[in-house]
Every structure is written in structure tokens, then in C-alpha cells.
């Protein structure tokens, strides 16, 4: 997993609590983060119940997780494959478009175009790796849509690239498979449902605002879905795989809702 030297001592619990979300990716390695999250979940969420010994903490966590899985199904039911997210005029684009990741701006990955190959594996007919030039040669489209973050804020941006549905058809993906998973150069990983993968606004994004995607927005490519929250939109994608086995995700494995629809 992703490790970086921490800039602050781990003992500084208050600071970590304050910026639980973004900072933990930076300051703690994976097993410690898990333990920390479990502890804070009980501190903030369950002390009033479990402190009195009324219920077991883990029972409440399991119940919440089960409801989150139920909410995945509810969202899949509500998701209309033909309903488009609103689009906006260029004049409404948010400047500067915010940077957001599980790490800080000083740790943005620089992926070299030379030597870059997009791996495509799993339930696809054509497992050949793709160069950026080949992706750019496919028919392109762009969209100005609202990016909604799980934190609540939103921003409007302009993304261009290959409609993901045409890419999946081109590689002969099994379109009846349940999931499409993504592995990224910044060690991020996530997965989405097939109906969203085939949504007309789901874009294998190569450009931002008419320019090649800059590193801060995920060079060489990100998956842009205006029908899902920001953390479902992976950047710096290196590998795409089609599968029927639930692949989870970086934040999803820690408790964010998997469907993450909008």
C-alpha cells in the first residue's frame, strides 16, 4: 500500500481527528488507518450506546454496513441509465477547479506519457494494452458538468475524451458483467456498476478544459461520471478490469458507500 514519510508525529491525535479525511491518507499507513478509523467511529458514533453497554460496537458497525449495502441496491434501482446530469455553459466553469485526493497537492503523481500503457483485463475479448495515441484516435466528446464531492462541495468543470461505453464495446467487454474496476498510478483503486459504466455521460477523460489532462486532474486519464460522487471518479488510471467479483475501493473499503451515486 501507499506509504509516505509523515510530516507530523503519529501521536498528534487531535490534529488527525480534525482533518480525519484527507490527512489520514498522508500520515498513517493502511493497517493503522483502519484501526484509527474504527476507534474514531466508536468514539464519535457509538460511545453513547456502547458506553452504557446497551449494544456491542461491532454489531452497530455491521448493521450500518448492511444498510449501506442496501443503499447500494436502492441507488441502483433509482439510477436511470438514460437520465442525463445537467450540463452548463463554459462561462459557469469553476476557476480554479479544486484539487482533491487522499493526499496533498505536494504528492501529485507525474505519469510519463512515454511508456504509458493502459491495461485492460478481466471479462474482455481484447486484452491488448492501449497507448494514449490510440485512445486519442477514437471519437472524442466533451461535457461541462458538476462534480459533487462526498464532502458536500461542488464545482463545474469541462472534461473531454472517449465515451466509456464505446471503449468497453471496442474491447469487447462482457456488458452483462457486474463491475468495472480501476487501478491507478497513485495507488488509488475503485469500482463501478456496469449500468453507470455504460451511461452516455461516463467519459474516459483525456482532457480538461480543452487541454491534455494536467497531473493535478489525473494525467494521463481519469474516469469522469457526473452521475457519481467525486471519490468514484478515479484519476491516473493504469488498469481497467471487468469482473463479477466485487472489487471494492480505497475509500469504499473504509466505509464510504460503494454505489456513491448522484
Amino acid at each position: 500500500m501507499f506509504k509516505k514519510p509523515s510530516r507530523q508525529p503519529l501521536a498528534n491525535g487531535d490534529l488527525l481527528l480534525k482533518d480525519a479525511l484527507k490527512d489520514m491518507g498522508r500520515h498513517l499507513d493502511q493497517p493503522m488507518r483502519r484501526a484509527f478509523l474504527q476507534r474514531t467511529l466508536s468514539l464519535g458514533g457509538l460511545s453513547m450506546l456502547s458506553g452504557c453497554g446497551i449494544v456491542e460496537e461491532s454489531d452497530v458497525e455491521n448493521a450500518l454496513m448492511k444498510i449501506s449495502r442496501f443503499n447500494d441496491k436502492a441507488q441502483a434501482f433509482l439510477f436511470d441509465p438514460n437520465r442525463l446530469a445537467p450540463t452548463y455553459p463554459d462561462s459557469m466553469i469553476t476557476h480554479p477547479f479544486p484539487f482533491n485526493a487522499y493526499y496533498g497537492e505536494d504528492e501529485i503523481r507525474e505519469v510519463e506519457e512515454e511508456g504509458y500503457r493502459l491495461e485492460v483485463t478481466g471479462l474482455v475479448a481484447d486484452k491488448r494494452a492501449w497507448t494514449l495515441a490510440e485512445l486519442r484516435a477514437m471519437p472524442q466528446t466533451d461535457q461541462v458538468t458538476r462534480h459533487i464531492c462526498v464532502e458536500g462541495w461542488s464545482a463545474i468543470g469541462k472534461w473531454g475524451g472517449v465515451p466509456f461505453a464505446s471503449f468497453l464495446r471496442r474491447v469487447g467487454a462482457d456488458l452483462s458483467a457486474k463491475y468495472v474496476g480501476f487501478k491507478c498510478a497513485d495507488d488509488y483503486y475503485t469500482s463501478i456498476d456496469m449500468p453507470t459504466a455504460l451511461h452516455p455521460q461516463t467519459l474516459l477523460t483525456l482532457t480538461y478544459d480543452g487541454q491534455p489532462l494536467p497531473p493535478r486532474y489525473g494525467f494521463p486519464m481519469k474516469l469522469r461520471m457526473p452521475t457519481k460522487l467525486g471519490y468514484k471518479n478515479p484519476k491516473h488510471i493504469q488498469a481497467i478490469f471487468v469482473t463479477n467479483n466485487y472489487p471494492g475501493g480505497y475509500w469504499e473499503d473504509q466505509g464510504y458507500n460503494w454505489f456513491g451515486g448522484s
Partner: protein, 198 residues
């Protein structure tokens, strides 16, 4: 069960009231934690009074309790309308009588002899909180699924406006909650009535 005509609050009112109370407390406390992830006003509720521990935990609580809030709320409204209690208890409505009751309340002279009868201030407050909860659910739907509910989204002014509306409706609910608790403390018999029914 004893003679039901003596009941101030039928059983379904008491059950839905307390379920609603639990749901509202969970929704508000987890909602504050979610708000704290990206505050849009120059203040944020202290972390100690929020629920969930971190954003992901708070969202789990919020999107679990929403089913309780909505399911229970629909049950309450259905019973209220079908039984005719809504019209009996909260209407008729008279602005003049409302002002008179507000004045009486401010002077500390508003009588509570008959708990089965709501004065105009109570009627206004309870109707307000019903409407406010409906608004919280509708604005919440726009935040949760802004793409899937386009009509609702546009009616409420779009995603970013709905965020503020959701927050202000929450603030109004908290204000109601505070006044409600103060009134119960002043007239403790009302608490017994909401537990025992009489």
C-alpha cells in the same frame, strides 16, 4: 387497554413521536459531521456533539436513519390524515387567535389545563415542524440524488441552493427542538402524556 376516549395521544402518535425523535437526533448529529467536512457558513458545530466519528461514519448514520425518518414520517402523516386527527387537532387556524395566544404566551398566561387541546401557538409550531421535516426530506433527496430527481432539483434552486436550504431547515428544526424541550420542562405533564397517553 383502558377506555381510549380518555387518551390524549393515541398509541400510534406516541410511537411515531418517539421514533421520530430518535431519527431526528441521529440525522441532526450526523448531519453536523457531514457539514463540517465542507462548511459554507463561518462556523462549524464542535466535533464532540456530532455522530459518526469521521465523514464516512457520519454518512452511514445519516443514510441509515433517513429510512427511519421517512418511513416513520409517512406512517405518521397517513394515520394523521386517515383518522382525521390532522384537521381536528391543528385546525381551524386563525391569525388573530394566533397573535392573541402568542401575546398570552409571552405574558406567561397561556393556559395548559387541557392537554388534548392545542392552542394556536402549538398548532402553528407542530404544523411548522411537519412542513419543515418534509422540506428537509425533499432538499435531502436533491443532495443525495441530484441527477435522478431533476424536477425537484430545479424547483429547489439547484444542488448548491438545496445545500443551504437543507441547512436552514435543519437550523429551524433545532430551534423548534429547543423550544419544545423548554416547554416540556415548564409543563412536565406533557411528557407523561406522550409516554403513557394520558
Amino acid at each position: 387497554m383502558a377506555n381510549t376516549t380518555d387518551l390524549i395521544h393515541p398509541r400510534w402518535v406516541r410511537i411515531t413521536h418517539w421514533v421520530n425523535a430518535v431519527a431526528v437526533v441521529i440525522m441532526a448529529m450526523s448531519g453536523w459531521r457531514i457539514y463540517n467536512a465542507s462548511p459554507f457558513f463561518p462556523f462549524a458545530p464542535p466535533g464532540q456533539i456530532t455522530l459518526g466519528g469521521w465523514l464516512g461514519g457520519a454518512i452511514q448514520w445519516h443514510f441509515a436513519a433517513m429510512w427511519l425518518l421517512v418511513g416513520n414520517g409517512l406512517l405518521y402523516l397517513a394515520c394523521n390524515i386517515i383518522s382525521g386527527r390532522l384537521w381536528r387537532k391543528f385546525f381551524p387556524w386563525s391569525p388573530r387567535a394566533f397573535l392573541a395566544d402568542v401575546l398570552a404566551a409571552l405574558k406567561g398566561k397561556l393556559a395548559h389545563a387541557d392537554l388534548s387541546h392545542y392552542n394556536m401557538v402549538q398548532r402553528a409550531a407542530y404544523l411548522f415542524v411537519m412542513v419543515d421535516l418534509v422540506l428537509l426530506v425533499l432538499t435531502g433527496l436533491v443532495l443525495w440524488k441530484s441527477v435522478q430527481f431533476p424536477l425537484l432539483r430545479e424547483l429547489l434552486g439547484g444542488y448548491e441552493v438545496a445545500r443551504r436550504e437543507h441547512f436552514l431547515a435543519m437550523a429551524a428544526l433545532v430551534a423548534f427542538f429547543v423550544v419544545h424541550i423548554v416547554m416540556v420542562a415548564l409543563v412536565p405533564r406533557t411528557l407523561l402524556a406522550m409516554i403513557r397517553g394520558r
